[in-house]
């Protein structure tokens, strides 16, 4: 049952990435058409735009959700590639633990960075 669960979350994470990458493309590359979340006449990559977005709770949550989805999606794919090399049961268990611990660690670090950036931006 675990593989059914992991695959389903892999697909859902792919959908989440699709939505948030769409948002990224809209904000960063289609700004001349839409101008979303870019205050004044600033370009999306300008300091004032970056800080402006970092102050918004929506973006802090978006960064964390996208981070989680991308990490899960990517690490599950990596796990599949490694498992296809034909490791034994013990190596598979070790890989599961390593990828889970690594993923959770990277997520915690990235989520803290997103939250800290937001907190810092609100003091500026």
């Amino acid at each position: 049952m675990r593989d059914q669960r992991l695959w389903t979350w892999h697909v859902l994470a792919g959908l989440v990435i699709l939505v948030f990458l769409g948002l990224h493309m809209t904000i960063m590359h289609l700004d001349t058409i839409f101008g979303f979340f870019n205050p004044g006449d600033a370009k999306p990559i300008d300091w004032v735009s970056v800080v402006g977005r970092a102050r918004m709770g929506f973006f802090t949550v978006s960064y964390i959700v996208l981070l989680g989805a991308a990490l899960f999606h990517g690490l599950y794919g990596l796990r599949n590639i490694l498992f296809e090399l034909g490791p034994g049961r013990g190596v598979k268990s070790a890989l599961n633990v390593a990828l889970t611990v690594g993923g959770v660690g990277l997520f915690a670090f990235g989520a803290w960075a997103a939250w800290a950036a937001g907190a810092l931006a609100r003091t500026l």
Binding site: D3, Q4, N80, F83, L85, G86
Partner: protein, 273 residues
């Protein structure tokens, strides 16, 4: 290609008794009109090498016994005309991804073990009805189309020989077993999805399919196992999300009670169940 005067068979020979690795043997025979690869092997066995071993039975692409690796592709030897290969050199090897028993005879036991593990038969909630059917089950043409093409599978193993995942992962159930599992999951007379899910939802299930599509290319019967596997993945994802509800197995068709046969219509044969 015009018909050649002769054709050379390059055959992979292996005899476990000799403890030697497989070797290639070239044998040239006269070509006869309409010769298939299986016909050529028979000529070789009768005239050149009586020890050559392979499996075959029906000679008409129905039994699935003569799956071989012919000119780099898994095919049925009986279904492959020499002229359609476009060359006078025919290389014949046992199906890849299986152990070799002897010469062109692959060990298909893992294939059939995985097939059996996925319960390729009708499973119903009403056990009494399952083992002692009282009649025919209701099924619309649309419901039939959901699984019909998958039921054409002859279990020859060509799809498994072409599958890159089977080549690297011995635990993977393989396209034949998975397609046959989906054939029954998609059958409106069946109620065995929950039982088959015990295998499908694990590491042996469809998750490792890369959708290379080689299985569907290789199938000599035109079955599309790759499609069955993707449909199965969708079914299992919906099941996990509680969005899939298997319909109850279809009911027995009520027999007509009051009907009078016209005199000009012959009497129907006796029911088989």
């Amino acid at each position: 290609m015009t018909a050649p005067a002769t054709v050379t068979f390059r055959i992979r020979r292996y005899d476990p008794a000799t403890q030697q690795p497989p070797v290639w043997e070239d044998i040239t025979i006269p070509y006869t009109h309409g010769m298939t690869v299986l016909d050529g092997l028979r000529v070789i066995k009768e005239t050149r090498s009586a020890t050559l071993a392979w499996r075959s039975s029906c000679r008409m692409g129905v039994c699935g016994s003569c799956g071989m690796f012919i000119n780099g592709h898994p095919r049925l030897a009986c279904n492959t005309q020499i002229t359609e290969l476009g060359t006078q050199l025919v290389t014949v090897a046992p199906l890849p991804n299986f152990a070799i028993i002897r010469d062109l005879v692959p060990d298909l036991r893992p294939l059939f073990d995985k097939h059996a593990a996925l319960m390729p038969y009708i499973i119903r909630d009403d056990v009494q009805e399952m083992f002692e059917p009282t009649g025919e089950y209701f099924q619309t043409p649309h419901e039939l189309e959901q699984f019909l093409q998958f039921s054409y599978c002859i279990k020859c193993g060509c799809c498994g020989a072409a599958c890159p995942t089977v080549a690297t992962d011995p635990e993977y159930s393989g396209p034949m077993a998975l397609a046959q599992s989906h054939r029954y999951n998609a059958d409106s007379r069946d109620g065995g999805f929950a039982a088959r899910k015990q295998v499908l939802a694990t590491e042996k299930g469809p998750w490792k399919c890369h959708y290379a599509g080689e299985c569907s290319q290789a199938c000599p019967k035109g079955v599309d196992p790759a499609r069955a596997i993707q449909l199965m993945k969708r079914q299992l994802v919906f099941d996990y999300l509680k969005l899939y509800r298997q319909p109850c197995p279809s009911k027995v068709v009520a027999k007509p009670t009051e009907i009078t046969r016209r005199a000009d219509v012959p009497e129907a044969p006796a029911p088989t169940v």
